[in-house]
């Protein structure tokens, strides 16, 4: 056991002799996370669409559109502009969409004419123009159904426009006609087949997840994957420099060497994890009491990943091949395991796969250990899920180390 620790200390000292690699292992995840955060936006407020409306109809109905579009919880801010202003703003990318209500819009809605609505969208935006387009289509569909159902009364009202207030007989006829349509539809519309219950979430019970909660566990495991990839490749350095053959000629077991290397990886990862967890305590509301177990979990997870990568390294026929195999495993694990993108923003099918990768399993439980709750049983199952493949990989590497050293 003493030689295991001696090997661990030796490998850690060798890592410290190469600070550039350490900086890269920690720096790459930081830079990637910063970029992702920048792309996703640092403001937690929901993005809003800016809709420019050109009103060429200038009727009662067309003047109602800007107000209606921005009502309630609508994510759309509207602004009435001239055609020139609208063109300039949309060309400059300063708006989400430009809606042109042509002359004859009201008449078309009332069923006495035809009109083409034109919607120009901003191609540099992806989601918000879609919202505006769908909103516009709903508006047109609504106009169509209103016209089909209440075309008669609407035309009567339209005919009265500009002729002063309608007399009592006209109002009565319109009212009777509308009532008749509603009565005819009652059988189809009532009672409603779908009922919607709106429940306001208690803000205290479901707090908005912060950066540390969403990104930090994945970021830490991205670092561990880089560390494991680099330090598992050290077995090739040992082989190329002849130290592996020399070690095999000593009375020590190859298992001691491998275990020492895994512990060295765990030690380096633990230092990185400690920095990350302390940052989470200071910036992202992590409780001090959760740090020790999270730290142990990080060290365990990283050494398990290193055991898996070490078997890949020793399977290759050359150092370059080993690096390639390790990368082939590392990057998909990062993508699926919640390191590049948090599980919260991944499609359900991807989460389904990712949560069962060794690092994904570790990331999910780390989130629980840091900010949620996890039962000892669930933690034990996760530990077995990570530990059993790692132990098998360790045994396989141990077994093939003699032939690897001789080759």
């Amino acid at each position: 056991m003493r030689f295991v620790l001696v090997t661990t200390v030796k490998d850690v000292r060798r890592r410290l002799a190469d600070p550039a690699a350490l900086v890269l292992w920690i720096g790459i995840p930081l830079v990637l996370s910063a970029l992702l955060n920048f792309i996703a936006g640092t403001n937690s407020a929901a993005p809003r669409a800016r809709l420019l409306i050109v009103d060429q109809d200038n009727t009662v109905l067309s003047r109602l559109i800007p107000t209606a579009a921005g009502q309630g919880n609508s994510p759309i801010d509207t602004q009435v502009v001239t055609l020139d202003q609208g063109r300039r703003l949309i060309d400059a990318g300063d708006a989400t969409a430009l809606l042109i209500l042509p002359k004859g819009f009201q008449a078309a809605v009332f069923g006495t004419g035809a009109a083409n609505l034109r919607l120009l969208t901003n191609p540099s935006q992806r989601i918000l123009p879609g919202i505006v387009q769908q909103g516009s289509e709903v508006l047109v569909d609504a106009a169509f159904y209103v016209q089909r159902l209440f075309g008669g009364p609407i035309r009567r009202i339209a005919d009265q426009t500009g002729k002063g207030p309608p007399d009592a007989a006209d109002v009565a006829v319109i009212a009777v006609e509308i009532n008749r349509q509603i009565t005819a539809l009652q059988g189809s519309l009532l009672p409603p087949v779908i009922s919607v219950a709106t429940k306001a979430a208690d803000p205290a019970a479901a707090p908005t997840p912060n950066f540390g909660q969403v990104f930090l566990p994945g970021m830490l495991f991205m670092s561990f994957l880089f560390i494991a990839s680099g330090m598992s490749g050290d077995i090739w350095d040992e082989k190329q420099h002849g130290t592996l053959r020399r070690l095999m000629a000593t009375p020590q077991s190859p298992g001691s060497l491998l275990l020492g290397k895994l512990l060295a990886g765990a030690a380096v990862s633990a230092v990185v994890a400690l920095v990350g967890l302390l940052a989470a305590v200071m910036q992202f509301d992590l409780a001090w009491s959760r740090v020790p177990l999270a730290l142990v979990w990080c060290a365990f997870g990283s050494s398990a990943i290193m055991a898996l990568l070490m078997v890949m390294q020793t399977s290759a026929g050359s150092q370059r091949g080993g690096e390639l195999l390790a990368s082939v495993l590392t990057f998909p694990l990062m993508m699926l395991g919640g390191s590049f993108f948090p599980f919260e923003s991944m499609p359900a099918w991807m989460v389904g796969i990712g949560q069962w990768t060794p690092n994904g399993l570790a990331v999910a439980r780390l989130k629980d250990l840091m900010y949620g709750s996890v039962s000892p049983a669930a933690l034990g199952v996760a530990a077995l899920g990570i530990g059993i493949p790692a132990a098998a990989a360790f045994a396989l590497t141990w077994r093939r180390l003699w032939s690897f050293a001789r080759a």
Binding site: R2, V6, K10, A17, G242, R246, A249, P251, R406
Partner: protein, 309 residues
């Protein structure tokens, strides 16, 4: 001590070591002499336990290196042909690590590391990173790592390959010191003069076979008092052999279309007679090389070619 009996190592159809046997006693330097590819490193690999013999038996200090590997390896110190060092660690850290690999620790290890640094002439550079060392210094440290645990058997695989003359002298002196201290030393080399000046026992190997072994004097005795005459040019092998058969105290060792090797007593005095006999046989001599009895001449006698070929 080291005892090798009928050692054979085969890779597929290639027989790297073929039925080699020898014994080396404590305090003795046994040289394995042979050209590159003769099977020296494979033999060292089998002794150190890195390679599993196809057949035969190797024991170190009474422990079988296959059946009782860890116990045998505890007594071995390896100085490999290629440098086997952690260049990103200091000289002292390297020595400490390899000492730990043999179970040393604490004050014993620290004291021994200091002694070895002194011995290999790196006492003032012990804390320096190995990557900053010259080739000769690295060679000495490579040697130091092999003896830091005071092994009873030291295996040196061409430790002076590519070393400058000064470092070579220093390394050879270090090897002698190990033997004087009672260690059994197995030393592989393809340098004839190293084997002659350093080794108490010499085993000549080629193509995986042990051709001859013994002390330097015993091996010289195998050649006898005869000089070795090596001629190059153009020869008719049958005609050349029959032409020389009439000369007394002369033996044709090998003859091909372009080389002729002769062992003869007082060969220098016989040169005119040899030349005229060969001229009569239609031979054309381009180069003549005369050697007095030595390992070189023994190697040529045994293999028909020079060691460097």
């Amino acid at each position: 001590m080291i005892d090798v009996q009928h050692l054979r190592k085969q890779y597929g159809d290639l027989v790297a070591v073929n039925d080699i046997s020898f014994t080396a006693e404590p305090g003795q330097i046994l040289g394995l002499l042979g050209p590159n590819g003769a099977g020296k490193t494979t033999t060292i690999g089998c002794i150190s336990g890195l390679l599993k013999p196809t057949s035969g038996r190797v024991s170190a200090m009474g422990h079988d290196v296959v059946a009782d590997g860890p116990a045998a390896r505890r007594h071995l110190g390896i100085v490999p042909q290629e440098l086997a060092l952690y260049e990103d660690l200091s000289a002292a850290a390297n020595l400490e690590y390899w000492g730990s690999a043999y179970g040393m620790s604490g004050d014993t290890l620290r004291r021994r590391v200091g002694e070895v640094l002194e011995l290999i002439g790196l006492a003032d550079r012990g804390r320096d990173r190995t990557s900053k060392f010259s080739g000769g210094m690295k060679r000495r440290l490579n040697f130091g790592c092999g003896i830091v645990h005071s092994p009873r058997v030291v295996l040196l695989d061409e430790p002076t390959a590519g070393v400058d003359p000064q470092s070579r002298v220093r390394l050879l002196e270090l090897v002698r010191q190990q033997a004087h201290a009672g260690a059994t030393v197995i030393y592989t080399t393809h340098y004839m003069e190293e084997a002659q000046t350093l080794c108490d026992q010499i085993a000549i190997v080629d193509h995986g076979k042990l051709l001859a072994s013994g002390t330097l004097d015993e091996l010289r005795g195998l050649v006898g008092e005869k000089d070795l005459l090596r001629l190059t040019g153009r020869f008719e092998p049958a005609a050349a052999s029959s032409a020389l058969a009439s000369l007394e105290h002369l033996e044709v060792l090998t003859v091909t279309a372009d080389t002729l090797t002769i062992a003869a007593t007082g060969a220098s005095r016989k040169l005119p007679a040899i030349f005229s006999a060969l001229a009569a046989a239609g031979a054309e001599i381009q180069e003549t090389k005369l050697s007095v009895p030595s390992l070189e001449s023994l190697f040529i006698t045994l293999t028909g070619r020079e060691l460097r070929e």
